[in-house]
Symmetry: C2
Subunit: 146 residues, 2 copies
């Protein structure tokens, strides 16, 4: 399961993608619109900023905005920052490989094999899904609202 940190972060990023091009968005506005505790969201956005996904502006008229176009930011990238590797075991991670201490022989480890497959399938999806593609699909889903 994802932590709330990742979920909140994703929601905020989707909102920022929606509002892209309209100048900085206030943390408090994001927090209110997405029902996220403001202080918690601050920390999350800072984290995303440090990893180069966001820019911020201080003072009046300040706030956050994406530092890249919404179609150049994937869900996989965001989750890796906020949650850690996508893989279910360290020895199956592409981005942060680590050996499992208790594993005698990695080459024949059945658990690892299965988890490599899962990791491939997961990243294939999440690294192809961008903020804009998600938002586009959400708008289609809104039909019943007119």
């Amino acid at each position: 399961m994802l932590t709330k940190k990742s979920k909140y972060g994703l929601k905020a990023m989707l909102q920022l993608a929606e509002d892209a091009g309209r100048g900085p968005i206030l943390v408090s506005e994001l927090a209110e619109r997405q029902s996220i505790p403001k202080k918690f969201l601050e920390a999350i956005l800072l984290d995303l900023k440090r990893h180069g996904f966001l820019q911020s502006k201080k003072g009046k008229g300040g706030g956050y905005l994406l530092s890249r176009p919404p179609n150049a930011i994937t869900v996989g990238q965001i989750i890796r920052v906020l949650e850690g590797p996508l893989a279910l075991v360290p020895c199956a991670s592409q981005t942060q490989y680590r050996r499992c201490e208790e594993c005698a022989d990695e080459a024949t480890c059945g658990v690892r094999r299965a988890m490599l497959e899962v990791r491939d399938a997961t990243s294939k999806i999440l690294d192809r899904t961008t903020l804009s593609s998600l938002n586009a699909r959400s708008r289609k889903g809104t039909l019943r609202r007119g």
Copy 2:
């Protein structure tokens, strides 16, 4: 990431599958062969027993054995017991659906859409991977050892 509980449980189950048909296996033997703390493993096996995956025998000559053939037990089943739902968000779980409190409109939630895809891909793999299929593939991988 999987917890050690799940990893230990999977390893023990794979070992039990390997030794299937040879009578009960001691917890202490499993623990030693797989480098798992014995007391911790006891709790895990007990859990798997309560969920119907294992049988146990007390007293001398006792131990654990699979209660179903190794090709009728999937990795997905084991992980769901020891780790919880495969889905990354509760609203994307097949087996334990729960609404996300902070989500205003599930039908248009972009996060949910992406996570539904991931869950489908994951369970497609893990629910088709049985203990025996994993063990079979591991044996092939042992070539370099003669």
